[in-house]
């Protein structure tokens, strides 16, 4: 059974059909790419998967359970984490606190414990610090744990966003244009990081990307979206050389 199962997904905003009859099936452990020209509805699909929008019709199942109608925070707890196209960090909080905020449901103590700083507080906070630093280490961010998130350079902010998403211990990680605004060097580095993340955290990854080198380099399977509908699904090589796909991107 596929980890993520989406069938006939559709949403309308007034008269606009942003996503229509969209199907995707992502297997456990896969690195799956979702590509398509600008305005094709890729981010809308992400927003549907994470509960930001409620689909007009269709089925979304994670590990066999329907997640339709659930709120974003519930979906996160069920196991879908995401990053954003335009970075959304907790800017006035430290790098460490950004990750610790995402550990909210992993390591818990009561409100009374919070107000009075009872013994479980220090114990769990230490545990949280260790866990957060462990995650930050994977991204080479542990040395900047105390830095304010807004003071990080762009590339590191992107990494921190991925680190924060992983802290929620997801089954499925959605990356929305992780390489946007990066130079070829940084993109190369990011490809390595994404591979590493998949293996180390045993997470399934679905990513949106415009950088075809990255897509061809790491994705094992691709779905092309055009005008809100699925254009083609298959192995990267076949998909990227397909005449329909090239037409969708470049025109006739």
């Amino acid at each position: 059974m596929a980890l993520l199962e989406v069938k006939n997904l559709g949403i309308s905003f007034g008269g606009l059909r942003a996503v229509d009859d969209f199907n995707i099936s992502v297997e456990q452990g896969q690195l799956y790419g979702l590509i398509g020209p600008n305005g094709a509805g890729k981010t809308t699909v992400f927003n549907l998967l994470t509960g930001v929008y409620r689909p007009s019709d269709g089925i979304i199942k994670l590990a066999g359970r329907s997640i339709i109608g659930k709120t974003p925070d519930e979906i996160c707890q069920i196991g879908i984490a995401r990053t954003f196209q335009n970075i959304r960090l907790f800017k006035k909080m430290s790098v460490l606190d950004n990750v610790k905020a995402a550990l909210h449901h992993q390591i818990k103590y009561s409100l009374v414990g919070s107000l009075l700083h009872l013994p479980p507080y220090s114990q769990k906070e230490t545990e949280m610090n260790e866990k957060a630093l462990e995650i930050l280490q994977v991204f080479d961010l542990d040395s900047e744990a105390g830095t304010l998130a807004s003071n990080l350079p762009y590339g590191k902010q992107r990494k921190l966003e991925i680190a924060r998403a992983l802290a929620t211990n997801p089954k499925l990680l959605l990356l929305d244009e992780p390489a946007a605004g990066m130079n070829p060097n940084e993109t190369g580095e990011l490809m390595e990081t994404i591979r590493l993340v998949r293996n180390k955290f045993e997470v399934t990854i679905l990513l949106i990307e415009h950088d075809m080198k990255l897509v061809a380099g790491i994705c094992e399977y691709l779905t092309v979206l055009n005008f809100g509908t699925e254009l083609l699904t298959g192995e990267p090589e076949a998909v990227l050389n397909d005449a329909k796909v090239i037409t969708a991107y470049l025109g006739e």
């Binding site: 974003p72 925070d73 907790f90 800017k91 006035k92 905020a101 107000l115 009075l116 507080y121 802290a167």
Partner: protein, 323 residues
């Protein structure tokens, strides 16, 4: 790490003891005029109000203009208990404090739920309206004494009995500070920084917004009880939007999300009108001017420039081997 924490705790305890000693010295020795001394309680009340409002505006990031409403609920609840029951002070005052806090907290919940969907200026307007509604209801009701006010409240918490107020000021600061540096506090701050991302990492926004509203209102209610038992008479007009704005000014001046700043600003801004008493008719004008000057000093980078200037002076001194 643990050692640093211990050191911090010790510094805090010493600071609390020293400030308690200073306050009791001022009260018992009578070095200051009676007017100044009697400001001890309003200072404490304003600290509690400012620190609790800072939880909403500074940490949750929501602009609210109804804090005086919560305060008045606490004040009237507490006063009605001590006025209408014959309980001795030892029981009456704690009961009034708890009841005042709880009633305000309940209204925090009541107002918190409907305003969850509002943000920014819309929330500010709704909370402003809430404060005015409370005021109107208090004026219209008979058991609250109407516009005449509620008088004959036992003066349990005047400056002579400052200890209990002092204790509650410390408790308020500690609890809110503890809250901020916890997983719940992080959740609240993350909502302020980016509520979409906050939801995306699994934080239930509505729960934490309401939590912040309830806790903040609870302490505002307690501040109201102290206020009532200090002045001895309550009038709905004392809790209009001017009071809410006064508290907001303290929070903004002290710095959003800065508890220490709120405390200092509460002390300064409570004393200021009294210090300016000699200026007579121009008192409020000077008050406003000082306020503007302080805001500019705090926000225009003037302070940073000055500290760096002092630092560079020091460096020159050490470089040349002092005098």
């Amino acid at each position: 790490m643990n050692r640093m924490k211990l050191n911090n705790t010790i510094t805090n305890i010493i600071f609390i003891i020293v400030s308690y000693a200073a306050v009791s010295l001022i009260v018992t020795s009578g070095i200051l005029s009676r007017q100044m001394t009697s400001l001890i309680i309003p200072i404490g009340v304003n600290i509690i109000l400012a620190v609790s409002l800072n939880l909403l505006t500074g940490f949750l990031g929501e602009l609210t203009l109804g804090h005086a409403g919560f305060m008045s609920l606490g004040a009237y609840t507490g006063a009605l208990i001590t006025v209408n029951t014959e309980l001795p002070e030892m029981i009456g005052l704690p009961l009034a404090l708890i009841a005042g806090g709880v009633v305000a907290a309940i209204f925090g919940l009541v107002i918190g739920v409907p305003v969850l969907r509002l943000k920014g200026d819309y929330l500010a307007i709704v909370t402003l309206g809430f404060g005015e509604i409370i005021k109107s209801v208090l004026t219209a009701m008979e058991f609250t004494g109407g516009a005449q006010g509620l008088s004959g409240i036992p003066k349990y918490t005047t400056y002579k009995n400052f200890t209990i107020v002092f204790i509650f000021v410390v408790i308020t600061i500690l609890l809110i500070k503890n809250l901020v540096y916890s997983r719940h506090g992080r959740a609240i701050c993350s909502i302020r920084d980016n509520y979409i991302a906050s939801e995306a990492v699994g934080i239930k926004i509505s729960k934490y917004k309401i939590m912040a509203f309830v806790i903040s209102a609870f302490f505002a209610g307690i501040a109201g009880v102290f206020n009532a038992h200090n002045i001895g008479i309550l009038k709905p007009d004392n809790f209009d939007y001017n009071k809410s704005i006064e508290i907001l000014v303290i929070v903004v001046l002290g710095g959003m999300g800065n508890i220490k700043g709120s405390v200092i600003a509460a002390v300064v801004l409570t004393l200021l009108p009294e210090l300016l008493r000699d200026a007579d008719n121009f008192r409020m004008l000077f008050y406003a001017i000082v306020l503007i000057a302080m805001m500019l000093f705090n926000n225009s980078g003037l302070r940073e420039r000055m500290t760096s200037w002092i630092k560079s002076k020091k460096q020159v001194k050490t470089a040349t081997g002092g005098e």
